[in-house]
């Protein structure tokens, strides 16, 4: 990261404070870089930490409980904490690898289970769509039969014929409902869910890359 990038990121991170406060802070850090000189650009960036940290410090003072002992303690002890975490991480990785080897049959079982559940959920979902579609088709057929039967029957017994005709139309209404449900499930909900999962995936991976 160079100075321009640093300042650009800082400007972006300070979007939510007032324009005058933002310009003030940016002016300060622009001066700061200029006074440090081009040769020291990298060391300044390193000692400032990240644009995130700089922005956080500015906002903490603007909004938060301004400058109490607690914020100081965290800034002072940040360095030792970081190194400690690093050594802990290597140990944890070794432990995790050993645990994985020992527990591999169990992990395999769990993974198979997860895949099974996923396949099951997806199957249920598509069956639901299929059932709705078939229901719509059947109801349409029933409507056709009943409407024709009703009209024919009306010649013999007008009351019974109209009754059958009415039930036929009712079936037609239900068929349209089932058709709408099918379209909604297959055409709208399914792509939306897929997009949601994709977005979630990207968010998780995108964040990992940023770190």
């Amino acid at each position: 990261m160079n100075r321009d990038e640093f300042l650009r990121q800082l400007e972006w991170l300070l979007q939510d404070i007032s324009p005058s406060e933002r310009e003030e802070a940016l002016q300060y850090y622009r001066d700061y870089f200029a006074d440090a000189g081009e040769d020291n650009e990298q060391s300044v960036i390193e000692s400032l930490g990240s644009p995130q940290k700089v922005a956080e410090n500015i906002k903490k003072d603007l909004y938060g409980p301004a400058y109490d002992e607690v914020t100081y303690r965290t800034t002072v002890y940040q360095k030792p904490e970081k190194t400690q975490r690093k050594s802990l991480e290597t140990w944890m990785i070794v432990l995790i690898v050993i645990a994985c080897v020992i527990a591999s049959p169990a992990i395999f079982g769990v993974l198979t289970g997860i895949v099974g559940v996923l396949v099951g959920v997806i199957s249920v979902w598509f069956s639901l769509i299929l059932v709705c579609g078939v229901l719509a088709l059947v109801l349409f057929c029933v409507m056709g039969v009943l409407v024709v039967a009703g009209i024919a029957g009306a010649f013999v017994s007008p009351v019974a014929g109209l009754g059958v005709f009415g039930i036929g139309l009712l079936c037609g209404g239900l068929a349209i409902l089932a058709l709408m449900a099918t379209v909604a499930l297959a055409g709208i909900a399914t792509p939306a869910i897929c997009r949601g999962i994709a977005a979630l995936w990207r968010q998780i991976f995108g964040k990992k890359k940023m770190q």
Partner: protein
């Protein structure tokens, strides 16, 4: 550093550093001077300067330097008074602590 620098002490140090320059001084230099005395992350100084400015302990002005305007900070009258108060408080505080430590240290000297 083992000891934490609290808000008041940091204010006092910054005011003292700035008051050393009657003409005022600029952000980068203040940071370097403060860091001669205490350990501090460079990003913590701007909010302190900004707050002291808002509290009217510091005033700012821009001065032309190498083709650009550099912002200078100068201690106000109110800032000097505040610094005076801090210095007195610090004297009392540090003498008490030093006195306590010295009483413990006598044993060592007597050996």
């Amino acid at each position: 550093m083992v000891f934490n620098t609290g808000a008041a002490l940091l204010d006092a140090i910054v005011l003292a550093v700035v008051s050393k320059e009657p003409e005022g001084t600029y952000g980068y230099k203040i940071t370097q001077d403060v860091r001669q005395v205490i350990e501090l992350s460079e990003s913590t100084l701007y909010p302190v300067l900004r707050r002291l400015q808002k509290d009217e302990c510091l005033e700012v002005y821009d001065r032309e330097c190498a083709g650009r305007n550099r912002r200078y900070y100068k201690v106000t009258e109110r800032g000097s008074a505040q610094l005076n108060l801090y210095e007195n408080e610090w004297k009392i505080y540090s003498e008490k602590v030093t006195g306590l430590f010295n009483r413990g240290g006598n044993q060592y000297e007597q050996r």
